[in-house]
Amino acid sequence: MLSDIPFDQIVARARAGDAAAWADLYDEVGGLVVGYLRSQRLPDPEDVAGEVFLQMVRDIHRFDGDREKFRSWVLSIAHNRLVDDRRRARRRPSTPVPPDDLRSTPATSDALPEHELLRQLATDEVEVRLARLTEEQRTVVMLRVVGDLSLKECAEVMGKRVGAIKGLQHRAVETLRRELGGESPVHGAENARDVRSTPTRPSSDPSA
């Protein structure tokens, strides 16, 4: 690992073809990109992530910034790839795979079956809640929660203004709050009794 080296030098080494530098960059954004693509319900997020990393290698000479900027930049590539993939899917619609078939397919080769089952159950529960969101609202939530991006970085990735991202985020949170039966932060004191009477944790919570 090259964690003790300044990030710009890691990028410079990667440009020169240093394998260790590339491995460090991949560790920085690998899980981030796959997680974001997975949250966008892509059928093969690992394959699409591979294309994203290839594009990252081809365009590394254009990048200039720090570690946070690098994460945002790679997520921009992933988002653009996602948009292209969805546009291509609209032009050539395919038959969706039934959820039962997906559930029978192990997502990771080194995961234990029970762990995989729990993960799948949690994913199903989350997906049910997130199904209320629009595509853009879901993208904003995933970029903020899974991608760890700020509002400004989300705006840059999605090609929108910060105000638009704020609006999308607000509506997404409101939709989720109604879906979950949670209290509004503005009227939290008034609805305290109702909040306590409603389940505050998803059913997939292991501690429940």
Partner: protein, 303 residues
């Protein structure tokens, strides 16, 4: 503190949601999400994050790394070269367009200047003048400059080859409507039927130039000229004093009223053509009845 405890997401959003060390503190925009989230929603979002941000399997990681290193080995510095070449081509294209636009603008400006001065060839000048006329500009038309077809601004025919073979042959020296002293008053180009030059005194007409040569501005000079131009007009009882124009010159020798038309004085002879400026008055010349006076010349011409 469980993963779905609301405080988990709040603390995560305030500090860092990742397991990796955070390079920068959380931004205000990141905290804005927390401020509008109720605990239930915050717990759900923590679950969302834990669901999708799972560690990657080793086979996926190794596959990705192999792809990355293979791609990096193939094209480490080539993209920069490709970009440089692309940029150079773009600059060249933009430069060519700029040069073409500049050349076109220069040609248009030069053509407009030549057309405004009438320096273009006749065909091109005609075309440009026609186009300019439609936009309210007046450019010289080559047809108006052709000898024989030449007209002045009022449409009167101008002397040219088509009228007499040589410029000025038909110039009478006192065309109707001309003002005294204009170019059309020049009498030296007239010739008789035999081709001999006719002086103003020989053809019996007196022009302003003659009188200027003879007397160099008498007090009646300007009035006489006007009378020559308008012979049928009645003589004014009194004309504005024009002495102001010639206050320093000699007064009329015959003592006639200033501004009296010369036609009302038939015995007044024409002055000598070569009379020096400020010389004898017209009356004196007429008394001498010298050869070459208007009366003799008129008789000779009648014969």
């Amino acid at each position: 503190m469980t993963p779905h405890d609301p405080r988990t997401l709040t603390s995560t959003m305030d500090t860092t949601p990742r397991s990796e060390p955070m390079a920068t503190p959380p931004t205000a925009s990141a905290r804005s999400l927390v401020s509008e989230i109720d605990p239930t929603t915050a717990a759900f979002l923590a679950t969302v994050r834990d669901t999708y941000r799972t560690p990657l399997p080793s086979d996926v990681t190794s596959s990705h790394l192999r792809m990355i290193l293979a791609e990096a080995a193939v094209s480490p510095a080539q993209p920069a070269l490709r970009d440089w070449a692309r940029r150079a081509r773009r600059i060249a294209a933009v430069g060519a367009v700029k040069i073409a636009l500049t050349a076109t603008a220069a040609a248009a400006a030069a053509g407009t200047g030549l057309a405004a001065t009438g320096s273009l060839p006749d065909a091109a000048q005609t075309v440009v003048a026609g186009i300019a006329e439609q936009v309210g500009l007046t450019f010289p038309v080559p047809a108006a400059d052709t000898p024989g077809d030449r007209t002045d601004a009022e449409g009167d025919p101008q002397p040219g080859i088509g009228e007499g073979g040589l410029p000025g042959l038909l110039d009478s020296g006192a065309d109707e409507g001309d003002l005294p002293g204009e170019a059309g008053d020049a009498p030296a180009f007239e010739r008789d039927a035999d081709g001999r030059p006719i002086t103003p005194a020989q053809d019996g007409r007196e022009t302003a130039e003659d009188r200027r040569n003879a007397g160099n501005a008498s007090g009646t000079e300007r009035g006489e000229d006007r009378a020559d131009e308008r012979p049928a007009a009645p003589a004014p009882a009194s004309r504005p004093d024009t002495a102001g124009d010639t206050s320093g010159d000699a007064p009329a020798a015959d003592g006639s009223a200033e501004g009296t038309p010369a036609d009302e004085q038939p015995e007044a002879p024409a002055p000598e053509p070569a009379a020096p400026a400020g010389g004898a008055a017209p009356d004196e010349a007429g008394d001498d009845d010298a050869p070459g006076t208007a009366g003799e010349q008129r008789d000779a011409t009648d014969d």
